[in-house]
């Protein structure tokens, strides 16, 4: 009887632990795959590993680390710089890997938060935004040059015109910084948090979508607002700049083509599912992804050309690799699906166990 009692209380403890711990969820599916393509290789950060994959057939070249390490999770798209593949993890460590072999070259452990956004590499410097509210500037050996503090987490990759670094933050601000010192040049209140990166035009205008349901055009020189346009739903997406238009989709299921001149809507169409991530341009068509796994291509004039549904969730938009569109999939059996420009499935990468 005593034995049964022991089994009973042990089972109760396990049940309570799994209820409380299980309800709290796991970090494993807390973000989406970060995909970066360089020449013939796609680098994919997702879950416990960073993978290097051949874009020709989806075969794996290497993975890092070889053996999964508990809470060490990778979601930020790796950045490449002069023989360094720079990728951050959820345990606040920024790694430099050899892009050819996946061997670790150095680590930077000076940050306190998760690396959610991808770093920017510019003129042999790494500008890495962290959820601890700081943008870190490092040299290619991983030495800290300076850091800039925003008032909330940084979840989006900075952009640069070579003269300045532009960093959008969850604190509703867009910051322009001096790349050599990290000194703030100007800051602009956008009215809402920014999840995805802004885009910068050759004319020196920054376009950014926010959680306050608006899209803004900001002059890079002084941070003044060129125009801003309010929409019906929140944006969980990044605009695509092509020619004199911006293309983006909202969480309400609508896709828009808007003018870069004044934000006027040129055309809009309804997909009917939340649009997420950054659309991409390929062969005269704009390709969007939806949260529920749909990849939808539109012509420049707003006609739907093709659609394909993948198993899993899509949050980061497709990436162009040679003749293929690579789609990173969250919570799916397949991690990366390659599609042709007509929407046919070319190859799929399923991570080895």
């Amino acid at each position: 009887m005593r034995r049964w009692s022991k089994i009973f209380w042990f089972a109760s403890m396990v049940l309570i632990a799994s209820l409380l711990g299980g309800c709290a969820g796991t970090l494993a599916s807390s973000s989406w795959p970060g995909v970066t393509v360089v020449d013939e290789t796609a680098y994919v950060a997702y879950g416990n590993h960073v993978f290097a994959i051949r874009t020709s057939d989806g075969s794996m070249i290497w993975r890092f680390p070889e053996k999964a390490e508990g809470q060490r999770l990778f979601f930020a798209a790796p950045a490449i710089a002069d023989g360094h593949l720079v990728v951050g993890d959820y345990l606040a460590v920024l790694h430099s890997l050899d892009p050819q072999t996946g061997q670790e070259q150095w680590t930077f452990t000076g940050a306190q938060g998760r690396w959610i956004a991808s770093p920017l590499v510019l003129d042999s410097r790494i500008y890495a935004p962290n959820a601890d509210h700081h943008l870190y500037a490092l040299d290619l050996q991983g030495n800290l040059l300076w850091k800039f503090q925003a008032s909330k987490a940084l979840w989006s990759q900075p952009v640069s015109d070579g003269r300045r670094i532009y960093q959008a933050s969850m604190d509703h601000f867009l910051y322009a910084l001096d790349p050599s010192s990290g000194q703030k040049i100007w800051a602009r209140d956008l009215g809402g948090a920014v999840i995805y990166s802004p885009v910068l035009s050759e004319e020196g205008v920054i376009y950014v979508s926010t959680l306050a349901r608006n899209v803004l055009a900001i002059r890079a020189e002084d941070g003044s607002v060129v125009w801003q346009k309010a929409f019906e739903h929140n944006f969980w997406s990044q605009p695509l700049l092509h020619g004199d238009r911006l293309y983006l989709g909202d969480l309400g299921g609508k896709v828009y083509a808007i003018s870069t001149q004044d934000g006027a809507v040129i055309w809009e169409n309804t997909v009917g599912e939340p649009l997420t991530g950054a659309p991409t341009w390929m062969d005269g068509q704009i390709v969007f992804t939806t949260e529920n796994g749909k990849v939808v291509a539109y012509s420049e004039t707003g006609e739907q050309k093709w659609t394909v549904t993948l198993e899993g969730k899509l949050y980061n938009g497709p990436v162009v690799a040679n003749d293929h569109l690579l789609v990173g999939i969250t919570q799916g059996k397949v991690l990366v699906q390659a599609l042709t420009s007509g929407g046919q499935q070319a190859w799929a990468f399923e991570p080895p166990k």
Partner: protein, 265 residues
């Protein structure tokens, strides 16, 4: 259904309080937990009264007689027990039903806290979808201010001291201590410490604090804060009803021990 009826209203209530108290998430967790426990307080009172009535029944002479008389006839024993319940006006489910009603509310409270403590992109997207746009403005609310005292409520807590190489998990220690105190103070004195339920209670009181401490060590500190507040409110509720069993934690006087042992015989 569960989401629409429990989780979403709870998340909105929590965020509404968060706005009211000047976007202080720690204070919002404390007040929201207090509010839910106040709402469920009448159920807790019923549960305690029901449990007390059942406990007193164990000492009733008639009860003891029928236990002895029908110990080999389970069917007859059940019939006699039911007859005694009716005679004494005791509802054997009086302590279970309030617990069953409270359970989904407490689970809902816990889950809504997890949703509100969004610290990763997909968690944040999930949180945004739970917000009633008519009640709260996403643009003003996001990102939530998760700083409370020295803690980031979305991450496990450690107090970093300049003279120590590692952070101290203060909240995990407080969770362990308050869970231990709650377990000890709220366990009623057993007529027979060797019976199964008393042994089970003792084991739970011994291991539960460590389990909760471990969870507080590894989960977001907002949840650990909730564990502490919930433990303290639980102790306070029992104290207000005069049900705290101080004998379980205070050292027993030498003179008390023999007399208690004698009483059991």
């Amino acid at each position: 259904m569960w989401d629409a009826l429990i989780i979403t209203p709870f998340v909105n209530a929590l965020l509404f309080i968060y706005n009211l108290v000047g976007q202080n998430f720690g204070l919002a967790i404390i007040l929201f937990t207090l509010l839910i426990r106040l709402i469920t307080h009448p159920l807790m009172v019923k549960q305690i009264k029901g449990a007390k009535a059942m406990q007193e029944l164990q000492k009733n002479e008639k009860w003891l007689k029928i236990q002895e008389k029908y110990k080999n006839d389970r069917e007859k024993l059940a019939q006699e027990q039911m007859a005694l319940y009716r005679e004494l006006g005791i509802n054997p489910f009086a302590s279970c039903l309030p617990t069953l009603i409270q359970f989904p509310i407490i689970i809902g409270l816990y889950q809504s806290l997890i949703i509100a403590l969004a610290s990763t992109p997909i968690e944040l997207l999930n949180l945004i979808r739970h917000i009633y746009p008519a009640l709260l403005k996403v643009e003003a609310l996001i990102p939530l201010n998760s700083q409370f005292l020295w803690m980031d409520l979305g991450l496990p807590e450690r107090l970093a001291l300049p003279f120590l190489p590692v952070g101290i998990p203060i909240l995990a220690i407080v969770v362990t201590v308050t869970t231990y105190l709650q377990g000890k103070l709220m366990t009623p004195p057993s007529a027979n410490p060797k019976d199964q339920s008393a042994m089970f209670s003792n084991m739970m009181n011994l291991y539960m604090p460590f389990l909760m401490g471990y969870l507080a060590l590894t989960l977001a500190s907002g949840l650990a804060l909730y564990f502490v507040v919930s433990n303290l409110i639980g102790i306070l509720q029992y104290a207000m009803l005069g049900q705290l069993n101080w004998q379980n934690i205070l050292p027993k006087r030498a003179s008390e021990k023999p007399s208690k042992a004698g009483a059991k015989k």
